[in-house]
C-alpha cells in the first residue's frame, strides 16, 4: 500500500513538474512566424481592449510598454492571459462568453507577438509627478470627484490604478473630452455590458430635483449618486421625470483651463501612483 502511495506521489510530483515546465517557457520566443500568428490571435481576442496594434485602447493598457504592472516574464503573461486579473476588466481565457478560448499554443503565440511589439526603452515620465499631485488635490479640482489612494471624492471613478491601466492618449482624451468615452462603472458578473457613468437628472413626485451619475439602472429602478455624494434609490414609475444623458458630469478641461504641461504633470502623478 505504502509503495503504491509513494508511486502515486512521485507520479503526481513528476506530472506537476511537467505542467509547471510547460507553463514556464515560451516555446516560440523570438519566432517571427509565431509572432505573426499571434498578431491575428491578438486581433481576435485582445484588440477589443488593448487596441489593434497592442498600443492600448480606451479600456486596456498599452502592451507595447516594456514595463507592465502585472507581468514581467513570459510565464507571468501566460498566467495572466489564462486566468485573468481579479478585480480588473481582464478576463480569464475563454470566459467572456463570446470568443473561443485559446489553446496554450495560441497564448504563447500572442505573447511572442506582444514581445515583438515592445519598445525597448521604458518611456520616461514626461511630467512632474510632485506638481501633478499638488494640482490633483488642489487647483485642478480633480479630487473633488475622484479618489486616489483613499483620498478624494466619490462622484467620479476611482483613479489609483488608472495610470497603469490606460494609455496616455486615452487619459488625455478623457480629461480634454470626457464625454467621448464614458467611464465604466459597476460590472455585473452575468451582464454583457458594464454600467457607464451616465449623467442623470431625476425629479421626484413632490418636485425635488437631483442631478448626478447612475451607479446602476434597470428598466424599473435606478440607483444614483447626486453631486453631494448622496445615494438615491429610485423607482422610475414614481418619478415625475427622469432624464439621462451621455454628456459626462465631468467638465471638459480645455487647454485654457489646464495647460498641456499641467496635464502632463497630473498624468505623471497618476502613472507614478498606478505603478505602485
Amino acid at each position: 500500500m505504502l509503495t503504491r502511495c509513494l508511486v502515486a506521489l512521485v507520479g503526481f510530483v513528476f506530472l506537476g513538474t511537467l505542467a509547471h515546465a510547460a507553463d514556464d517557457r515560451n516555446p516560440f520566443a523570438g519566432d517571427a512566424k509565431a509572432a505573426k500568428a499571434g498578431e491575428y490571435e491578438f486581433r481576435i481576442n485582445c484588440a477589443l481592449c488593448h487596441g489593434l496594434g497592442a498600443h492600448g485602447g480606451g479600456r486596456g493598457p498599452d502592451l507595447t510598454r516594456a514595463q507592465k504592472k502585472h507581468t514581467h516574464s513570459d510565464a507571468d503573461m501566460f498566467q495572466v492571459i489564462s486566468n485573468g486579473i481579479p478585480g480588473t476588466a481582464m478576463p480569464a481565457n475563454g470566459t467572456n462568453g463570446q470568443g473561443v478560448g485559446m489553446t496554450d499554443e495560441e497564448i504563447w503565440q500572442i505573447i511572442t507577438y506582444i514581445r515583438s511589439q515592445e519598445m525597448k526603452a521604458a518611456v520616461n515620465p514626461q511630467g512632474n509627478a510632485a506638481h501633478g499631485k499638488e494640482l490633483f488635490y488642489g487647483d485642478a479640482n480633480c479630487s473633488l470627484c475622484h479618489m486616489v489612494d483613499g483620498k478624494g471624492g466619490r462622484l467620479g471613478p476611482e483613479l489609483t490604478a488608472v495610470g497603469a491601466s490606460r494609455t496616455r492618449a486615452a487619459l488625455i482624451d478623457s480629461v480634454r473630452n470626457p464625454s467621448n468615452r464614458l467611464a465604466w462603472g459597476l460590472t455585473e458578473s452575468t451582464k454583457e455590458f458594464p454600467q457607464e457613468y451616465e449623467s442623470v437628472t431625476a425629479v421626484t413626485a413632490d418636485g425635488k430635483e437631483m442631478k448626478g451619475v447612475t451607479l446602476n439602472e434597470d428598466s424599473f429602478t435606478v440607483q444614483i449618486m447626486d453631486t453631494t455624494e448622496r445615494i438615491h434609490l429610485l423607482e422610475k414609475d414614481k418619478l415625475r421625470s427622469f432624464q439621462k444623458t451621455r454628456q459626462s458630469a465631468m467638465p471638459r478641461y480645455a487647454a485654457s483651463t489646464l495647460s498641456d504641461k499641467d496635464l502632463d504633470d497630473i498624468l505623471a502623478f497618476l502613472v507614478s501612483v498606478g505603478a505602485k
Binding site: G99, V100, E106, E192, S219, F220
Partner: protein, 557 residues
Amino acid sequence: MRRRAKTQGLKAIIFCILNAALEGSLFHGWSKSAVVAGLIALSITIIPAGAQVTFERLVNSAKEPQNWMTYSGDYSGKRFSGLNQINKTNAHTMVAKWVYQTGATGKLETSPLAVDGILYATAQDDRAFALDARTGRPIWMYQRQVPSDIRPCCGHVNRGLAILADKVFLGTLDAHVIALDAKTGNVVWDATAADYRTGHSFTVAPLVVKNLIVIGISGGEYGVRGFIDAYDADTGERKWRLYTVPGPGEPGHDTWEGDSWKVGGAPAWNTGTYDPTTNQIFWPTGNPSPSNRGEGRAGDNLYSNSLLALNADTGKMNWYFQFTKHDEHDWDATQVPVMVDASGKHLIAQANRNGFFYVLDRTNGKLISATAYGKQTWSDTKDAEGRPIAKKEASPTLEGHTVCPGALGTTNFMAPTYDAQTGLFYVTARDQCDIFSTAPQPYEAGHAFYGSAYFPSEEAKPYLGFLKAIDPTTGEVKWKFQHTSPTWSGVLSTAGGLVFSGDAEGNFIAFDASSGKPLWHFQMGGAVYAPPMAFAVDGKEYVAIAAGSAVYAFGLP
C-alpha cells in the same frame, strides 16, 4: 450501479407503502377507492413520471397546453402557450413559485420541457435534470464528464432537451448525442456524431420527428463542415446526415472557391421546425467559415446562412433559401423559422441576425418579403428575388470599419414567438454596430478560424436593446419596448394576451401583447440568456425561465 440500487430500494419502499395502503393495513377499514381518493386529496399525487410521449402527442401538442414537449412548444416554432389562467387582468399579481439552483456557472440558455408534471432542463457542461414542476425539487440529475480540452465557441452552454417515449435526448459539448432514461437520468445510448477535437460540438436542443432525433452541429468558428443528423430514438443509430456544405459533384459545390468547402462551416446550431402535413423539416444554418473573411472562399457559399427544407425521413433537401450570400459578418441565419398561416398562405417567417425580417412561402421557399426591423447599414439594394444584397463597402478591412448590425446581429439565438391572436411576431432585437477588421489566419484543425476581429463600435453607442412586435404580413414594427441594455432573452406569448421576456439586468417581465406595456416584473438577480415557456400542473399555470444560474417558475398567488 449505486444509483440503480438506490432507485430499486426506493421503488421497493414505495411499493410496500402503496400495497399496505391498498391492502388496508395503513387505512384500516377504508375501501380501496376511498384510499385512492384520499391520496389524491392529500396531494400525494402519483404522476406517471416520464410518461410515454408519442409522436402523435407531439403533432397534437395544442390539445395539451399544460405540457411543453418540444423546444419551441410545438412543431411550428411559435413558442405560444394556449394557457390563459394568467392573463392581462391578473398578471400584475404574479409571484415566484420556486427557484432551482443548477450549481453551474456561465450562461443558462436552456428552454425547459414540461411533461405531465415534470420539468426537464439542462445547464452548462452538459448537465440535465428533471424537477417536480410544482415545487422545483429535483428528481434526477445527470452530468456528463466533458473532456477538459473542449473549446466550444461561446460558452459551455446547452439550449435544451428533446423527449420521446421514455427517453430524453441531449446533444453534448463533445459532439455526442445521448439518450437518457426520463425516469432516472441513466444513459440509455451514446452516439458519437463527430470529433470534438476538430471544433465540433452540440449546444442545440434536438428535435424529435417520428422516431428520429434530429440535431445540428456547432463549430462555425472552427471551420467544421456543417451537418444535420437524424438518429434512431431507440438505438442511437444514425439514419441520415445532410452536409450543409455540398461535396464534389453535388449541387451548390461550385459556390465555393477551391477546397474552401472542406472547412466551409455552415453549422446548424439552433432547433428547426417541422410541418407534419408535408413531412418537411425546416432547419436554419449558420455562417460560412472563416466567419468574417470572404477571401479564399469566393462564391455564394451554399448552404451557409440558409433555411433548408428537408424530407424528414431521408434528410433529402426539397428546397433552400439563402438569406445572406457570401457572409463576412458572422450573421448566422440560425434563428428559429416560425410557421405562420396568414391570408390563406402557408408561410415561414424568420427575424434574421442580419437585420431583415424574411417571409417565405414554405411550400416552395420563394421569398415574399424582406424588411429591415433594426438598424442596418450593410445593404441598400435587393436582387431580382427581393433579397437584400451586401454593399461592397460592408466588407471587413485591415484597418477596420463600422457596419450595422454588429457580429452579434439584430437578433441571435434568442427564441422568438408568434401569437395568432394578435397576429404579431415578437422578437428580441438589438441596435449595435461593430468595427470589423480582417485578421487573416490559416486553417488549423481545432483552432479558432475567424479570419477577422470585431468589436463594438464606440461611436455607435449607446447600444440599444428592444422587444419588437412585428406584423409578418407587412414587416412593420407595431410596437417596441426599449430595454435598459441589449438582452439575450427569448420571448413567449400566451393565450392570456401576454408576452413574457427577460432582460440583461435580471428582470422577468410580462407585457400586454397588444400594446407592449409592461404589466409585471420580477428581479431574478442574474442576466437572462434563455427563453421562457409555460405549463400547468394540478390546474395551475406556471411560466418558467432560466436566469443567472437558476431556473425560476412563476404563477398566480
